[in-house]
């Protein structure tokens, strides 16, 4: 176990230190907001970003420029579909209908991305930019203006039960990590020619990573829906870039094969805590953007420096 924690630290070293520092600062500055009694709402507030970061990770781990920039719009699309189409128009309100439907939508969009990126072999950033634009447009078509409300059980997922979807997400990943599939995913991310000569079906493994990203993004979309308690066509897109920043901050190599979902989540929590500190100083959102950028670049540099000093013999 200690070596597992050691491994997590090696990959995410800077992000964890930042997390501890920011948490301490927050505890001092915002004692009321970080009081255990408020944790439900606090976690609910952080959840969509954590979900978006975790969702972005599988395709990045799969390597060869794997990236899915449609994660944000997909969250917005799931938000709009669940509230506007399924809940308000078709009258579905049961979690046992809405959750599987949302996951199915996510998986289907992920499969389209996977097909374009692995079978048609369009560069992932271009393929998912296409999906990004299409989803943004479709979302605005089915939902031209914000509308509400969300079912009661879903809103509770951003309050009392806010930890539940996150636990479900990590439980799913915990199982994936114990499947033969996980080893193959990390192998193709590490070196896809070597993976091919080791007998791995590279295309299939990478395709599944896109589907997984889609499903996780749907969970993030549900968490977003829970948080805003309504549907808003313009809220999803913003998550894409900040999620990628969180992934990089959390020590996941954008070249693939290194890092994990825990790192991505830690990176997302860092960004959330930073946001919380800066807003308590009443700085403008413009300054917030500058701070994200600076922290991200600093984190990536520090991670690289740390890696280089840890393995001097590697070329």
């Amino acid at each position: 176990m200690s070596s597992r924690l050691g491994g997590l630290f090696r990959n995410t070293g800077f992000a964890i230190i930042l997390l501890i520092v920011l948490l301490a600062v927050n505890l001092v500055l915002n004692a009321a907001r970080f009081h255990p009694a408020a944790w439900g709402a606090l976690i609910g507030l952080a959840a969509p970003l954590i979900g978006a970061a975790v969702a972005s990770a599988p395709v990045i781990l799969a390597g060869r420029g794997g990236i899915d920039i449609s994660v944000g719009p997909l969250m917005g699309f799931v938000n709009a579909m669940v509230i506007q189409v399924l809940f308000l128009k078709l009258g579905m309100s049961s979690p046992f209908l809405l959750v599987p439907a949302a996951l199915l939508i996510g998986g289907a969009v992920g499969a389209v991305n996977g097909f374009l990126a692995t079978v048609v072999r369009i560069q992932p950033i271009v393929a998912t930019l296409g999906t990004y634009l299409v989803l943004t447009g479709v979302t605005l078509t089915i939902l031209p203006a914000p509308i509400g409300p969300a079912p009661g059980w879903l809103k509770a997922m951003a309050g009392t039960w806010s930890a539940l979807p996150l636990i479900a997400l990590f439980a799913a990943w915990w199982i994936v990590r114990r499947l033969p599939y996980y080893d193959q995913l990390m192998a193709i991310g590490s070196d896809d020619r070597a993976a091919y000569t080791a007998g791995i079906d590279v295309t299939k493994v990478r395709f599944i990573a896109y589907v997984m990203t889609g499903v996780f993004a749907a969970v993030a979309g549900l968490m977003l829906t829970a948080l805003i308690g309504s549907a808003d066509p313009n809220i999803g897109q913003a998550y894409t870039l900040i999620a990628i920043a969180a992934v990089a901050l959390g020590g996941v190599s954008l070249a693939g094969g290194r890092g994990g979902l825990a790192g991505a989540a830690i990176g997302a929590i860092d960004i959330f805590l930073l946001q919380s500190v800066l807003t308590s100083f009443n700085v403008s959102t413009y300054v917030l953007q500058i701070a994200y950028g600076a922290i991200l670049v600093a984190a990536v540099i520090l991670t690289a420096v740390q890696e280089r000093s840890a393995r001097p013999e590697e070329i």
Binding site: S3, I175, R178, L179, P180, Y182, D183, Q184, M186, A187, G189, S190, D191, R193, A194, A195, Y196, T197, A198, G199, I200, D201, S253, G257, R258, R311, E313, E314
Partner: protein, 252 residues
């Protein structure tokens, strides 16, 4: 090699293989328990032939068939070759062999990840146990199986890759210059392992850029020139002069 009549049934048939459109086609059979060497000046087709047998490259003409339980299995692509008992050890360890970001254990297990699963989930204990079997057999010197593979010496990295291939329990093992960049002591360990595998009935095809290696190891040698098979030697007929003459296209 024993007398032809007592030989086991052929494992692999290469029929009318032409490595290039303008090259002379040839046929070959490989039997269980044989160590077949491939020699030739660099780029004269021996590596292409090995890759064709592995299903990694398509020949200009001809077929590769593997003996199956009922009918012959035609090898058309690499994954089919692996599924039917062919293992391939690539030449360029750094570019197409190891996963530098992964541990020794993960590098070993990647081709056979499915074999460690219990009820679909991976059992770490079973994986470690399988690794230890091969670690002992190949005398891999790796203090920690969970350390990155890049912490090992070149020879030990090569042994881990060989362990990966052997874990597939292949019937035919294809070795593309297996001792390139490996120290002398490790080479002799590998030679002993190869002989042991052949004695157990595995067929081995070894491409080597060193003639001494072929002399030490192989029962039979195929010499390539201009993308054609120009000479075949067996047993005592294999010596430095005959192999070199064939490589340069002169009669021995």
């Amino acid at each position: 090699m024993p007398d032809r009549s007592t030989l086991p049934a052929p494992l692999l048939h290469a029929r009318d293989i032409a490595l290039r459109h303008d090259a002379q086609p040839f046929s070959q059979t490989i039997r269980p328990g044989e160590i077949v060497g491939l020699a030739g000046l660099d780029g004269h087709g021996q590596e292409r032939f090995l890759e064709v047998v592995a299903g990694l490259k398509k020949p200009a003409q001809g077929t590769i068939c593997l003996a199956g339980p009922d009918a012959e299995i035609r090898i058309g692509d690499f994954r089919k070759a692996v599924a039917n008992g062919i293992a391939y050890l690539p030449r360029d360890r750094r570019a197409t062999g190891i996963f530098p970001t992964q541990s020794v254990l993960d590098n070993f297990a990647i081709s056979t990840v499915g074999r460690d699963s219990r009820f679909g989930l991976i059992s770490a204990a079973s994986r470690l146990q399988r690794y230890q079997t091969y670690r002992d057999r190949l005398s891999i010197s790796a203090p920690r199986p969970d350390a990155a593979i890049t912490t090992l010496s070149g020879g030990n990295q090569q042994k881990v890759l060989l362990a990966r291939a052997l874990a597939l329990e292949p019937r035919l093992l294809l070795l593309n210059d297996p001792t390139r960049g490996v120290d002398v002591a490790t080479r002799h360990v590998l030679y002993d392992v190869f002989r042991g595998l052949a004695a157990e009935g595995m067929a081995l095809v070894v491409l080597s850029s060193e003639i001494e290696e072929i002399l030490l190891l192989c029962h039979r040698v195929l010499v390539f020139r201009d993308h054609a098979l120009t000479a075949e030697m067996t047993g005592a007929a294999i010596n430095t002069d005959s192999v070199i003459s064939a490589m340069f296209g002169r009669a021995a």
